[in-house]
Symmetry: none
Subunit: 161 residues, 2 copies
């Protein structure tokens, strides 16, 4: 079984503010009935996952200079903007006001797999950011090719894999 969050999906929010977590994400969370969330720093998105989400943030904190401004701010955001939501019997969560404010989410949520966590975006913003990300990654690749060689020549396959 796959042990990370992949792919993306857009689900609806009902009158009571509930959304289904995509079924493919549920086993990765471990069916613990609880979802940890954290406001993304540079993006209007919420990061979510199992307990590892917060633990990982704390590991990153541990690598920072505890007397730096970055440490103070990151610690503040990490703990202050995080939350844990209950997952109901149908795999749904209830969006909080904090989540709505930070993301602009109204009646639809884009769930985006990010490996060891996933994100929740307002769908239009997600699409815009994705487009931007694709272009920049394409540019990154072009720059690397300019250094290493041509497009087609570099495409030799290798056996194993």
């Amino acid at each position: 079984m796959m042990d990370r969050f992949l792919s993306n999906a857009i689900n609806k929010v009902d009158k009571k503010g509930r959304v289904s977590i995509p079924a493919s994400f549920r086993p990765v969370l471990g069916d613990q009935g609880r979802l940890y969330t954290l406001a993304a720093i540079d993006q209007p998105a919420i990061e979510a996952g199992g307990p590892q989400l917060v633990e990982r943030g704390e590991q990153q904190l541990a690598q920072m200079d505890p007397f730096s401004t970055e440490y103070e701010l990151y610690s503040f955001v990490l703990h202050g903007d995080s939350d844990h939501l209950n997952v109901d019997g149908e795999g749904r969560i209830i969006l909080t006001d904090n989540i709505r404010e930070h993301t602009g989410i109204d009646d639809k949520v884009a769930f985006v797999g990010r490996g060891y966590f996933f994100q929740m975006w307002e769908p239009e913003r997600f699409k815009a950011y994705r487009e931007e990300a694709r272009e920049k990654v394409a540019e990154m690749r072009r720059n690397r090719q300019a250094m290493t060689g041509g497009k087609f020549s570099a495409d030799k396959e290798q056996g194993g894999g």
Copy 2:
């Protein structure tokens, strides 16, 4: 048994959105009943293969600075634009909306072997790109000969078409 994806084939999409993976590709996938896919960056194509497909990208990620913008963008594209599809008893997958959007695929899929992975294209776009690729390869070869003065050694073409 052959351990790479070679050759190409065009298969039909049925009413339920299913396509057969070419039988010659199946043993390379390892009959795991699951196919990993990833939107190609520079092309309207989907890349597909076993779990190594995503793992390869993650190895590249692991070499990058986790706090850099490049890391964030690449991680976003790698995980958010990838997917894993179930393969049914007859070796078919169900195309997702994301795949249709990215490729323009409607009722036919061109499967193109690329060595350790394969691609799925809308057939007309595939043919156009193949033609373009052939021309560029020919031009590159001419340029290289002009530089080295030497004759290009045995560069066999893939039977293709």
